[in-house]
Point group: C2
């Protein structure tokens, strides 16, 4: 499976020189080959689900947006406007779980970029949400639109990164026009499925309009297909703030995708136990899903979970820990109980792209993949617990993600692959370098690395003793040195530009808080 | 499970300062929590097994040791002494599979170090067999007995490393007495289950005698329990050399453990396909197992597989690749078909302890663990495709192995762990730092890292911006700065010393080739 030809994929060597390979890999639409791994017995998952329902019913969520409280109330929830508390009965939750879609078709800028979110599929995203960017050339700094533009091009370059998310904040752009700049960048330099900020209705409406223009669809067509997504983080514990609640309402009303992801750090914003953190995370995700289904039954929504632990000595967030892996596995069990597509996350707390950084991202990614996640976010580049996206880390992590993608592909197992004739041909103690069986296959038999260097110590030393981090610099530089490709035809680019100019003249749209 | 108390475990912080934690972890006898993952359909595994039987029956193995050929012949194999080829009928193979033990109890220097090899258990070993050692203080150099001694102490220190294997070669010791020095080091500075070289009968007999002395057992008791093991590598393709064949015979005759591990590099010493490499590896492992069972039915023997691919441009070995992971998964299917305990391997081709090094070891270790391996070798420290063991890499990999061990332990899931009361106690938007639920658990809730640094960028910078590789230096230095512990009582140490002196005076025992 996943073996359709993409014959002219361009790859880059560790020394930065691009090369072409005819290897017929396809990282576009991955199906997770690993049976989901449980961490809790099924009856305890049921107990967690029931406890989360008790949390919603007896303790409730604090919902800061009056419109959201009114919608919950109209749907039968018990609402106290003085305390802003909303208590949601289990029948309301059950109805939402029943109406939320099991499969969601995502429409990108080109058909081969379209995605389907459903249990069993695997979608991988770069790290997102970071205020800083870092690389070995320019160091760590507040991220700019130029950084974001670079990241969009790097994400576009690697097929294994399936969506355009908000990798870094373009901090040099004023906040009332930043959403124009970042959306224009995504829609111009990429044809992948894009995210939008949920920072209040005016920004969201602008975003929808920009995507509608870029995709060339009518307002009606836009509302009947899924063209964009946003990530909704609750304010754990048990709180939903104004822009997040508004985002759930606006995206659901427009038929666009919300990914509802509580960020539950065990011992800090969540209970210190994996099971307790999952109860909280599950309750909050369900509250968000309920709001989308109240607004529009059947609205596209993705269950999300991102739970790890803190260092109890310092309170610092930690990722790639055993507790993080276990939380991912448990969240997968809860998501499968609902039957909904769901988002998990890798993570990394390291301050530099070293062995710790690699180990944490890979360990937590395995947790997510073995949990059967539908969307794996922060798969590449995410460092410092999300405070920085690293150019080099994005490259070294892409290697890991590509290996996951290779593991999704079938392995030749026909009689010829079993190689009896080759085994007969090569004498004992000989080698297979020149065997016909090898010659027929060697060009496409193995995964070609992006950044791994397999040369021996002598050769590696002669070439300058560069570690993976420094080799990765050459990789991203060579990708960005190529002319930027534009994915928007001239007329649409012009229309988009005119829209942005008009809205900017009107004062833009400051974020709502 | 695996939660028995080891209350006074000493741990080391990233800054090198030892700390004590009452955390009740136990990494001694791990049970693999992951359901084995298949990579091939069962009927194709059956086809691989049948093809391997054809290889043994129709093509045969070249066996260089006359005694081994004679034993194969006596068991009914077709032997041509002129060509040294041995063709083994499937009924001989079937008998060996039937008589090989499903469970093997290994007797170490202390009861809590004993191990059981059987499907479902997970035993982890450090990297082994390297001619070089490297660390950030002294650089890369030919390994010495001092390096080996350091490695024995480091392996002894970490409970997650379960046996004492031959991490590096003590190249400063003459080859006719080296086996005395390394065995004495293992038996003195460690109570873990030890390996011995299989470099000819004289060295093997010396090794058995040294272990018998150290363990204080009679020759009869030694022969009825498993006190040592050796790793037998075939000379792929289809060749068994003199010391390896002799090792299989001598260890089986003495009731000691052979781990038969073909090292099959796809595209070099093995077919270019995963399936073809596994057919060859399976055939060679079966040939080795057959020889042990001819010598002594029921002799302890472990199925082994170590297959990865080469870089087809340079011929350099690669590890942690998708092909390596798939080979591990497929080997697990073949081992489960036999029902025998089996050895898999992690691996790493990197020349420095960087993101590549971490990713390759972890990726291949996941392959081995998801394949349900019984013994995972090269789990920590192995670099450059086995040419070097790194002190720092040993430390950073131990972190990964400890996380695997943590994943083997049960996760609290009782009603108290679900934390409803804590969720009721903490107000929306609040935190759980001071909650009673947290206070009762925080000291033992989370895995404490060996080398990971979770401090924020500012603190990390103030502390000297040390990456994981440099922090690992502090960890191994602090372990080795403690006084070396002796595990041998004085009388046995004296007897061992006298034996070595006598044998050295007699001229030692040069390796056989």
């Amino acid at each position: 499976m996943n073996q359709a030809a993409a014959p002219h994929r361009r790859r880059h060597r560790a020394d930065g020189e691009p090369r072409h390979t005819p290897r017929p890999t396809d990282y576009h639409r991955l199906r997770n080959p690993f049976p989901p791994v449980p961490v809790f017995p099924e009856d305890r998952i049921e107990a967690m689900h029931r406890t989360a329902l008790r949390v919603l019913e007896e303790l409730g969520m604090k919902v800061l947006l009056p419109e959201a409280r009114a919608r919950f109330k109209a749907a039968g929830a018990l609402v106290d406007d003085a305390t802003q508390m909303v208590r949601i009965g289990r029948e309301i939750v059950d109805a939402a779980i029943a109406s939320a879609p099991r499969s969601i078709h995502l429409i990108a800028g080109a058909p081969h970029r379209d995605l389907d979110l459903e249990l069993g599929m695997l979608t991988i995203l770069a790290g997102a949400g970071s205020p800083h960017a870092t690389d070995l050339v320019r160091g760590r700094r507040p991220a700019t639109l130029a950084d974001f533009r670079d990241m969009v091009r790097l994400v576009q370059h690697f097929d294994v990164l399936h969506m355009q998310n908000q990798m870094v904040e373009a901090q040099d752009i004023p906040i009332h026009t930043r959403h124009y700049a970042v959306a224009e960048t995504k829609l111009t330099l990429s044809d992948k499925f894009p995210s939008l900020y949920a920072r209040g209705t005016p920004q969201v409406a602008d975003g929808f309009e920009m995507i509608r223009i870029a995709r060339g669809v009518t307002p009606e067509a836009f509302r009947s297909g899924v063209y964009a997504y946003t990530v909704i983080n609750t304010n754990s514990p048990r709180q939903l703030d104004i822009p997040m609640a508004q985002g759930l309402i606006d995206f659901a009303a427009a038929g666009q995708l919300s990914i509802v992801t509580p960020f539950c750090l065990m011992g800090a914003m969540a209970p210190v136990t994996v099971a307790g953190a999952l109860v909280l995370s599950h309750a909050e995700a369900l509250a968000g899903i309920v709001l989308t289904q109240i607004v529009r039954p059947g609205a596209p929504v993705c269950y999300g979970a991102f739970a790890s632990n803190v260092d109890m000595k310092s309170g610092a967030p930690a990722f790639g820990t055993p507790e993080h892996v276990k939380a991912n596995l448990g969240a997968g069990q809860l998501a499968r109980k609902l039957g909904l597509p769901w988002r998990s996350a890798a993570g990394c707390a390291a301050n530099v792209n070293d062995a710790q950084a690699a180990n944490e991202t890979q360990m937590s990614a395995w947790g997510a993949i073995l949990a059967g996640c539908t969307v794996l976010i922060h798969g590449a580049g995410w460092m410092e617990g999300g405070l920085t996206v690293g150019y080099e880390k994005l490259i070294t992590d892409v290697e890991t993600m590509q290996i996951f993608a290779e593991l999704c592909a079938a392995t030749p197992d026909d009689d010829a692959a079993l190689a009896f004739e080759a085994l007969a041909e090569v004498q004992p103690g000989g080698h297979f370098f020149g065997a016909a069986h090898t010659m027929e296959r060697y060009q496409t038999a193995f995964y070609p690395p992006v950044v791994a260097d397999w040369s021996n110590f002598g050769t590696w030393t002669e070439r300058g003793s560069k570690d993976a981090n420094h080799r990765a610099t050459g990789v991203w530089q060579s990708i960005l040195a190529e002319p930027a490709q534009t994915f928007l035809e001239a007329a649409r680019a012009e229309e988009l530009s005119a829209f942005i100019a008009k809205r900017t003249e009107q004062g833009g749209a400051p974020p709502v808080s």
